[in-house]
């Protein structure tokens, strides 16, 4: 894998990593969108959407509440989407490895976000006199510096994760022994379990929400059976 192959993936990871918190928080960084965009970059948008849907189920659990620490899904979904889209025939284990690589990246991504926030605090402390004086240049430059650093963080994270994990995924697929359908069922069962737990966490305090959930579940199962 050379630099020119890596560059578009890294840039996409940078843009989508930036969207998570810094700019513009339009949720283009949600796995459903980010993995699809990565798949489209490889020429396999539909594959990206498929793995994006699995990742979205897991991401429902980690919503960006306040100052809490949460995994960074933008760059991670680009890595997962690109790895899955590399295998358009979806061989056994392809989705498993793509989701696994995305989860590993999202873990590291969350850590890099904490480090960036600490770095932003150091920069703000270094410019304390300018902030206290209401210096326009200081305030604007701190904001632009933070966003630039976030973009660079996302791009570097994506490049490193993709460069390291794509070969690991290829090697694992070469040695994969479990049936394709069973492998995919394991991914889906895991992702949907997280989504189910997340839904309970989010909605259990809302009056009547459980009845809405069960009504929806009946409708969903019915639609699944008749499709």
């Amino acid at each position: 894998m050379n630099f020119l192959e890596l560059l578009p993936i890294a840039l996409l990871g940078g843009v989508l990593g930036l969207d998570v918190v810094s700019f513009p928080q339009a949720m283009i960084s949600r796995p459903l969108v980010a993995a699809t965009a990565a798949g489209a970059l490889i020429g396999q948008a539909a594959s990206g959407l498929l793995v994006g849907a699995a990742l979205e189920l897991i991401a429902l659990e980690t919503l960006p509440f306040g100052a809490s620490r949460y995994p960074e899904w933008g760059s991670a979904a680009v890595v997962g989407g690109a790895i899955f889209a590399e295998n358009p025939s979806h061989p056994a284990g392809a989705m498993e490895m793509a989701v696994l690589c995305a989860l590993a990246t999202t873990w590291v991504g969350g850590w890099t976000m904490v480090k960036l926030r600490q770095r932003n605090a150091v920069w703000a402390a270094q410019h304390r006199s300018g902030l206290d004086a209401g210096a326009r240049g200081t305030i604007i430059s701190l904001q632009l510096r933070g966003m630039t650093a976030d973009f660079v963080r996302g791009a570097i994270l994506t490049a490193i994760a993709y460069a390291l994990l794509a070969p690991v995924s290829r090697a694992a697929l070469g040695a994969w022994t479990v049936d394709a359908r069973v492998s995919r069922c394991v991914v889906v069962a895991t992702a949907a379990s997280v989504a189910g737990g997340a839904a309970w966490k989010i909605f259990h305090s809302t009056a009547g929400a459980r009845w809405f959930f069960f009504s929806g579940l009946v409708a969903g199962l019915f639609l699944l059976l008749v499709k």
């Binding site: 959407l49 284990g93 989504a195 929806g216």
Partner: protein
């Protein structure tokens, strides 16, 4: 040579609307309000960054002590939901341009943090975002194409997102220091409950449909998968607070991948 006051430095009267150019500049900057978010002053620098175009309208403009004092005041510690911070930006801009006393502005600023954080979290992060996400997953499960699924999510979510930011700025500017009354808006008070119910419905519809499409043709394993999901969800609810679900799924998938490769 006598200095001519620039048009941008003309003070805005109590009843005037914020000039369109200034309003657009603030709205664009609001999208980057968390650009330098940090653990010391949180959104503080972002609030100053967003208000700067409005503060240029203070008498005398950019190079006056009043401008620098106001910018310094507005760039201190602040915490709120990033979308609803637009309410604070509008209200504080109004207060600064109306020449309210500094200590009153600072007290008001402190009082705004809590409500704008909790209302925004419940309305957006625990309501609108999961709803849009789950509704898109339901469309995906129903077999919609890539463009429809992604397009629906982005359009639906951002109608709420951008609408909230624009409403917040306008409301804050219109009410100034009396903006607390506007926070009693029915959408903010009852919206989280209503959206929560619809999102719970969408969860029920989306999960079986999405898993059906991801598994693909030949669904003879689907009954077992559904039982596993019910048990898995219960486990995740039980271990809540000890380990997060995404970390647990990382462990499960890593163990399964190892088993698949080395057996």
């Amino acid at each position: 040579m006598s200095a001519q006051p620039a048009p941008a430095t003309t003070p805005v009267s109590r009843t005037a609307a914020l000039p369109l150019r200034t309003r657009l500049a603030i709205l664009f900057r609001l999208l980057a309000i968390q650009g330098s978010w940090n653990y010391e002053i949180l959104l503080g620098n972002g609030i100053g960054f967003c208000m700067e175009p409005a503060l240029r309208l203070l008498p005398g403009g950019l190079h006056t002590p009043a401008f620098h004092e106001a910018l310094a005041r507005e760039s201190r510690y602040f915490n709120a939901h990033p979308y609803l911070a637009s309410v604070a930006v509008g209200a504080l801009a109004r207060a600064e341009l109306d020449g309210e006393p500094a200590d009153r502005i600072e007290r008001f600023r402190t009082a705004l943090c809590g409500p704008l954080g909790s209302v925004g979290d419940r309305l957006v992060w625990a309501g609108w975002l999961p709803f849009c996400s789950l509704a898109s997953l339901a469309l995906f499960g129903l077999g919609m194409g890539t463009g429809w699924v992604v397009g629906f999510f982005l359009v639906a979510y951002n109608i709420g997102h951008l609408g909230l930011r624009i409403w917040g700025l306008n409301t804050g500017w219109r009410h100034g220091l009396k903006v607390a009354t506007a926070l009693g808006n029915p959408v903010l008070r009852r919206g989280p409950q209503q959206i929560g119910r619809v999102a719970a419905l969408a969860t029920g519809v989306a999960i079986p449909l999405a898993l059906g499409r991801i598994i693909g043709p030949g669904r003879n394993l689907i009954g077992i998968v559904l039982i596993c999901i019910a048990l898995g969800s219960l486990l995740i609810v039980r271990v809540q607070g000890k380990i997060e679900g995404w970390r647990l799924s990382l462990l499960v998938l890593a163990a399964f991948a190892l088993f698949s490769v080395i057996r």
